[in-house]
């Protein structure tokens, strides 16, 4: 019990005292996971829309792959991205391994299928006649897409929340491709793993609480937008 109370005390202290090292970790976590979420939106929403409406051979196969990838184990992604960026790997020339960019890539791979899968499902549950009505209104493809996105904005925000929640809390891929280097690639999850490993439970608890608060406040913001008109 003391352990938890100490942890709580330390968390408050770390936040209130504006500990430089902790702030760097928080900011990097936000930067990496925020960028990854943004990239996953840019890939996942158009991809989900395309999978929902286009007809081509193998569409169902790809849709099943996307749905499976919604639960992709981060360590598998970490391994895959590491191999790609490793010396002699296909993307070795980019020299990205153990940089925040590598973490963004890995987290994007985790979040994009989540966003794509939810987008696809939400588009497919629209009344097919609504699409006919939008065409009858004289919409171009782009106008149609805009209207459909507006119509599915609630599930799409849920997709963004799920994507962000998935990557801000993952540790396997980040530690593998980032390396948990202080001041460079250390984020809240990797720091928590390290502090726990060292037996610094109070710091680990403090970091966990900060992580939870961070995830909660970002999700709260998105939820408020989502529920505004309900």
């Amino acid at each position: 019990m003391d352990l938890i109370l100490d942890g709580l005390r330390k968390a408050i202290l770390l936040i209130v005292s504006l500990d430089r090292e902790v702030w760097d970790i928080i900011l990097l976590s936000l930067k990496v996971s925020g960028s990854a979420t943004l990239i996953s939106i840019l890939i996942g929403i158009p991809g989900g829309v395309a999978l929902a409406f286009s007809r081509f051979p193998g569409r169902r196969f790809i849709a099943a792959m996307v749905n499976t990838s919604m639960g992709l184990p981060p360590v598998v992604v970490g391994l895959f991205v590491t191999i790609m960026l490793w010396r002699g790997g296909p993307l070795a020339a980019l020299h990205l391994l153990y940089t925040p960019s590598a973490m963004v890539i890995a987290q994007s791979v985790i979040a994009a299928p989540i966003v794509a899968g939810i987008t696809m499902a939400s588009m497919q549950q629209l009344d097919p006649k609504l699409i006919l009505q939008i065409r009858a209104l004289g919409a171009t493809r782009l106008q149609m897409l805009r209207l459909l996105l507006r119509e599915t904005r609630l599930p799409l925000l849920a997709a963004v929340m799920a994507g962000f929640g998935g990557v801000i809390s993952e540790v396997g891929a980040s530690i593998m491709v980032g390396g948990n280097i202080l001041g460079q690639t250390r984020v809240l999850t990797t720091a928590t793993v390290m502090e726990t490993g060292k037996g610094n439970f109070d710091t680990a608890i403090a970091l966990s609480i900060i992580l939870l608060l961070l995830a909660y406040s970002v999700t709260l913001g998105l939820t408020l937008i989502q529920q505004k008109r309900r």
Binding site: D127, K129, L132, Q133, A136, L137, G138, A139, R150
Partner: protein, 367 residues
């Protein structure tokens, strides 16, 4: 009148079979063409093909002089669709306010805020939804939602309006009120309209011309009195409400009056028919009058008079349907009479009755 929309040799395929096969259909400027037919007869498919929402397998559509075929580009199709408007059976509103819903088509056409507001205001009043303008479309009743859908189409001031069973999902009083309003709008705007419905009364009320569809084909198209009075085949006759269809053979024809033998009974039809030909005699139930046997001669001047026995009486709102079996020939006839007539005649099942109908009320379909 000039045709605003004209389609020739239109076929649409769904799966293995043809969902539509229409050699020719024209919609004239300013008319309301009502398309009726049972479910699955291809009415909505034809509407969607004409509204350029469904690419036909073959055929050609000419809209305001512009030929549309398989080679017509997407951009041009969009610009042609922007001169049309469609209202479906479901309101299909967007999850936003009523005003924004009505504005959606205008926004797609790139109109400015001020112009949109100016164009919408009169339609909000006309359709009685001004008080709902800022409401969420998701909170509307079925009738209100369909009014918004109509407003969204009408505000576009289309050259042609397509209505695909717009009232089918509404309750009777709401449907009545909306039909009244739509009738007033048609009278005022003279808007060219293709109106699909399975309700023949709606078609009769709103249509300047009526087309009847069966099995993907347009069986008959013409003025309401022509379609309802002189259907071209048995299925069309039944669909337009002809309940009495009798098989007979023409015995003689003299001065425009044909005598047709129906199971031995003589039925006179005010049409020229070739002797010896088999035909179907169509008599609408509302054209059959009933009287007591002792009063039949006094009360009716109709040429056709058949004595029979009341089989059953079915109340149908303000009217009652009386079915009778004619004694000598075994012909079964239906008559629609008012409740008051029923009371006055004090008819009961099993009682004798005389059915009369004019020779002009009988229409022959030649086989």
């Amino acid at each position: 009148m000039a045709a605003i929309l004209d389609a020739r040799n239109l076929t649409v395929q769904r799966g293995e079979s043809f969902a539509l096969n229409v050699p020719e259909i024209e919609i004239e400027d300013g008319e309301v063409l009502a398309l009726i037919g049972p479910n699955g007869s291809g009415k909505s498919t034809l509407l969607q093909a004409l509204a350029l929402l469904l690419p036909p397998l073959s055929g050609e559509i000419v809209f305001e002089g512009r030929r549309i075929g398989p080679a017509t580009g997407q951009q041009e199709l969009i610009s042609l669709r922007r001169r049309m408007a469609v209202v479906f059976q479901e309101p299909l509103l967007f999850d936003t306010t009523v005003f924004e819903n009505i504005a959606s088509g205008l926004k797609i056409r790139g109109l400015g805020k001020k112009e949109i507001a100016q164009r919408i205001a009169p339609w909000l009043d006309q359709l009685g939804i001004a008080h709902l303008a800022e409401c969420s479309a998701k909170k509307l009743s079925g009738g209100e939602a369909q009014r918004v859908s109509l407003a969204r189409a009408l505000v576009l001031e289309p050259r042609i309006l397509f209505l695909d069973e717009p009232f089918a999902a509404l309750d009777a009083p709401t449907r009545e009120k909306l039909t009244d309003d739509l009738e007033a709008i048609f009278k005022k705007t003279k808007l060219t309209t293709l109106f699909v419905t399975h309700d023949r009364n709606e078609a009769l009320r709103l249509g300047d011309r009526i087309g009847v569809m069966f099995g993907g084909r347009l069986r008959q198209i013409g003025a309401p009195e022509e379609v309802f009075g002189s259907p071209v085949d048995e299925e069309t006759a039944r669909f337009v409400g002809v309940e009495n269809i009798l098989h007979g053979t023409v015995v003689s024809c003299d001065e425009g009056l044909s005598h047709v033998s129906v199971r031995g009974a003589d039925v006179q039809v005010a049409e020229v028919l070739p002797e010896g030909e088999h035909c179907l005699i169509c008599i609408r139930p509302e054209d059959v009058t009933l009287s007591r046997p002792d009063e039949a001669k006094k009360t009716s001047s109709a040429r056709n008079r058949l004595a029979g026995v009341v089989q059953n009486i079915v109340p149908m709102g303000t009217l009652s349907r009386v079915t009778l079996q004619c004694g000598s020939c075994g012909i079964s006839l239906s008559a629609l009479i008012t409740r008051q007539s029923l009371r006055e005649l004090s008819l009961k099942e099993g009682e004798p009755v005389v059915a009369s109908f004019k020779a002009t009320a009988a229409h022959a379909i030649r086989k």
